[in-house]
């Protein structure tokens, strides 16, 4: 059982480290971009997918400037809003592949993505702080740690305390993750997509229902797969941030122990465990039984705000597309393109290889099967992990990034960032060494195999697809291991709290 890492220095050094890390990440991005790695990364299929490619976006923008539908020619498959947002910056990206680039517009688009990454990181940081305070709060409620500060204002104090928090780790990890960096400078719209997803989760964790609804609607509009994050967002709004299963507070042993304790040392002050025990019963009451109506209200509010956001988004899309294209075109070129896997060029996923081989007759069926793999895991995971919505969000994001039709490393950047938020709970993760090396391995051997297949001609598609399978296996191992770690953690928590309350009685 780990305990919260305590600070190693004063508050100012924490801030210096944090801001230094932010600056460093920006510097790395700027340096790589100035070295012209954008043209190199922009052609990597690991970095850009048909849905997120900025080159395709430039094509769409060009078509739009010509007064045509941006979806004409079936090149651009993104949102019209992204086109309006990013189009002006990358108008001249037509000559992106040339070494001589139009510096100004490129720099502009560069800063947009860096800003998206920074915003995402800062949102992750504040999410991490809320999670951490909730974590400490729950632990102290269970009597597993002793808090110096009373729990009522622990949140406010822990932010200011000298503790090097989860939030900072997550933010810096997100920013310095090579995947994030590659996606940021490689000409992909993934940073914005990721930022929107994080924004929705942040809105949920902070209890800002309109922000959560808006973030969810935008992320879904841009990327489609965040649609399944509605459930963790609703859980977050209804149940609050991650905590131990609510059943723990109702378990007879614990309640018994608390009652015993209460009976023993009735109202003596100075007992650290009395107050938490009172809280246990209180919180279990407030969280589970009392506020059921409030929960429904919050979820309804979320639905309402999401609907309003969707209406606004569709209105803006309509406005952005003018007369050139209808919303129907937009659906068929974005969601339908994603769902029917029309582009079978190689990518990180497992769809392309399978659908080049499958009989045409079975194509619709297997498309359905592949997509339903994501959907049918939502319900069991929700039942199992609904008390840990952020972890649930991580799991769902990881699953969808593994099974989506056009994945890129940008999706991995997102779920690794979210995973970092649960670092306390996941500290017992097994096979960490294997997983880390697996990521390195695929990051290096994957491009090598692709090179062998496409450019050298000495390999074939199986070489590359084998690496995709390794990558998918790696992600599976990661998801399974982290899920079981979380479950184990909860179980441990229960055992320890029961033991603690026994010993204390």
């Amino acid at each position: 059982m780990q305990s919260v890492k305590t600070g190693t220095g004063s508050m100012s050094t924490k801030m210096v480290t944090l801001w230094g890390g932010l600056l460093l990440s920006v510097a790395i991005r700027f340096l790589l971009s100035a070295m012209g790695s954008a043209s190199l990364l922009g052609r990597r299929l690991e970095v850009v997918s048909p849905v997120t490619s900025l080159t395709r976006l430039a094509e769409g923008q060009w078509l739009k400037q010509l007064g045509l539908s941006p979806y004409a020619g079936s090149v651009y498959h993104g949102s019209p809003l992204l086109l309006s947002l990013l189009g002006p910056f990358i108008g001249n990206r037509r000559d992106m592949l040339l070494i001589i680039e139009s510096e100004r517009s490129d720099l502009c688009s560069f800063w947009v993505f860096v800003a998206a990454d920074l915003i995402g990181a800062l949102l992750l940081r504040s999410m991490g702080e809320s999670l951490e305070s909730a974590h400490i709060h729950h632990l102290s409620l269970l009597g597993l740690i002793s808090e110096q500060i009373p729990t009522s204002d622990s949140k406010a104090k822990s932010q200011g305390s000298g503790r090097w928090g989860t939030g900072n780790t997550a933010a810096l990890f997100y920013l310095l993750n090579p995947f994030t960096i590659a996606v940021c400078i490689g000409g992909s719209t993934s940073p914005i997509e990721n930022m929107l997803t994080i924004l929705a989760l942040y809105g949920a964790i902070a209890g800002i229902v309109p922000l959560a609804g808006f973030g969810w609607a935008m992320a879904t509009h841009v990327g489609m797969y965040p649609a399944i994050l509605f459930i963790p967002i609703a859980c977050l709004l209804a149940n609050g941030p991650d905590g131990p299963p609510s059943k723990l507070y109702k378990s007879p042993e614990l309640v018994q122990a608390v009652h015993d304790r209460d009976g023993k040392c009735s109202s003596e002050s100075g007992n650290f465990h009395q107050q938490p025990a009172m809280h246990v019963i209180k919180s279990s009451n407030t969280n589970v039984t009392l506020s059921l109506g409030a929960k429904c209200l919050v979820v309804l509010k979320l639905i309402m705000w999401s609907a309003i956001s969707w209406l606004c988004i569709l209105g803006l899309c309509k406005f952005s597309l003018h007369e050139h294209a209808s919303l129907h075109d937009m659906w068929s070129e974005t969601y339908r393109f994603i769902l029917t896997v029309e582009d079978l060029s190689p990518n990180l996923g497992v769809f392309w290889y399978f659908f080049t081989e499958v009989f045409d007759f079975f194509r619709p069926f297997f498309i359905m099967v592949f997509h339903s793999n994501i959907v049918f895991m939502v319900m069991p995971l929700t039942i199992r992990l609904h008390h840990r919505p952020v972890f649930l969000a991580f799991t769902l994001t990881a699953i969808s990034s593994m099974l989506k039709s056009y994945p890129s490393v940008g999706d991995a950047a997102l779920y690794l960032g979210l995973m970092c938020l649960c670092i306390h709970q996941l500290s017992g993760l097994q096979y960490f060494y294997l997983l880390l090396n697996g990521y390195f391995f695929t990051a290096i051997i994957g491009p090598v195999m692709y090179n062998l297949w496409i450019w050298r001609g000495t390999g074939n598609a199986n070489f590359y697809f084998a690496m995709n399978l390794v990558y998918a296996t790696l992600q599976t191992v990661l998801i399974v291991e982290s899920s079981s770690t979380i479950i184990r953690y909860d179980r441990n928590l229960k055992k320890q709290s029961v033991k603690r309350s026994r010993t204390s009685t």
């Binding site: 079975f362 099967v369 049918f376 319900m379 069991p380």
Partner: protein, 644 residues
Amino acid sequence: MEVVVGRSTRSTPPGRKRLLITLSVVLSFLLGTPLWWKSTEVYRSPLPFAAIETHANQVASLALALPCDLHVIFVALPIPPKEEDQQHLQVVVDQIQQQISIILAHKEQFNSSESCASGFQVHVTLDAENVCLRSRSAAGDQQNNKVAKFWPCGLATVDSDLQELLLESSSDDDNLLDEFFWSFSKGEYLATGGCYTVVLFDEDLLNIFSNEKLGEATVVEVGNQVNPISKEGKGKRRRRVVGKYRHAWMLGPELGILSFGRDAASDIADLAVMYFSHGGRLSGKDVVVEDKEESMPLSADGKAILSFSLLNAEPSDWIFDWAFEEVEQRFLQPLVEALWPFAHLFVESQVLYYTPKAVQSHWDAALQSHVVPFKQLPFFVNANEWHLDSSSAAAGRSKLLHFAIYVPAAKECPLHLQLSTGRISQTNGFTSPGWGGIIVWNPPGCLGSSTDNSTGHQLSTKELEPLIGVVVAQLRTLFGLPPTVLDDSKTDTFGVPATARGFADWEVDVLLRRRAVMDVHASASTLASLSRLVSSLPNMVIMDEIGDQVTSSLTAAKAAREHAISGAYHATADAARKARGLAEAAFFQPSIMSLLYFPAEHQLAIYTPFFVPVLLHMLVAVIKESSRYRRERRSYLRGLQNQD
């Protein structure tokens, strides 16, 4: 969650969470089942199997055959109308009919597909100056408005042009006479097929004509010229001329209505059967090339592309170019139009460079030329370096006929092809059945020191004209006709070459009959194969499109039969072509092609890799979880009892 381990009883009811999780997975699979059922449903459009079988049986038992009419016209001077004339005509009809059936009965080797239905329907007309008497069969048809197609009367009363043309019997004048008959009968004949006319001029009539002429012009030489026919013609020499439309004429003895005999009837019957019915291929000899039947160079939907290539073997010596549009307009367009009733031809052209032939020639001092021997001709075409396939033709199932005009290099310039007899080929070309034809064209003055024309040289239309003539002859050969209309001196039969169009109308009729019969046969056999295939593969998806195509094909085949009975040639050919094209399209439908080799075992290979592991796990989990829940629940109940 297992709260208490190692106890036989438990105080709390067992949690339902694990069970719920397992059941939710099962539920999603159950939800997916109808989708699976729907998306992998084998859709089979109902095919009219019974109708296909009936159609095949019909074709097998009674082949489609187009009817032909033979109209014999006696041109005569004014005769006093008699009562028995009508009977006499009937006798003539019977005579000719009998002769035709004799000829048909004796020659079983006739290509039955191109022959007319039940021989010929014979009609006889006596076209005298004062009377126009038709045989009963013709008169009977009159009520059906069918006689409108027939030759009008009054040939004997027209001006003396005819007489002049008749008397001068050189082959140039045959053409003029043919044109005269055409203009005389024009309007009655347009766009019909299967209606043939033989005009008979008795020598007595000619004598009278020539006497009139002598009397008028007093040119002795003319009379002398005519006399040999009339006098020596006593030895049963009848001059027979087959025109380039649908008529023929005969000059000679015993061709008057009164003097008509069995011999003349046999002659007429021979003409009708050999030429109008079978394309003139049998005339003179009884050799039949039976395998020509299947080799009509057309695709299933009756289309073919004539691809003309000018091959410059060695451009460093000389380069030739052509103005092909002009050639196409002038020479090929009439031909395409003439064949349009049964074959849709399209023309393409290209000029290729660096196209050496694949065989070596040798210098023959006796012939003063480079010679490619007959045995080497199959290897003449250089498939590696002659890129003859042009872009538009390469796609689809259309038939491609190549006509390559080969310009040899300077070092082997007068290049000639040697016949099997050892002589030099006159046309300097050869055909390859189903592929096309090759013509070697030697540039003029290639023996001389004309090395200066290395620059581009445009072939003029005049230079190309003989080449196109050879091409047309080759095309006729490819379609199974003689290269030119045979002039058979043995039977004194002459043909008028169809100079503008390359194919005479009656030849087009022959080919049309053949093609229509083949089309209907092919449609029947293709549909029969399709129905066998479909019933042997129950897993095959049959799109609605295929069902529609099959139905339309059957309808078209039925229409072809009906049109054939009424004798509408063009409509029959159109319907037959449609029937075959649709049948082929249904058979080669891409949606069934991919499933042709899709046995039922493949289903296993498709489903097992994903579903067996997943479903197995799910099943195990369901069993494990439900038994676990039951056990825990039992222990809880026991605990309750113990408490009580």
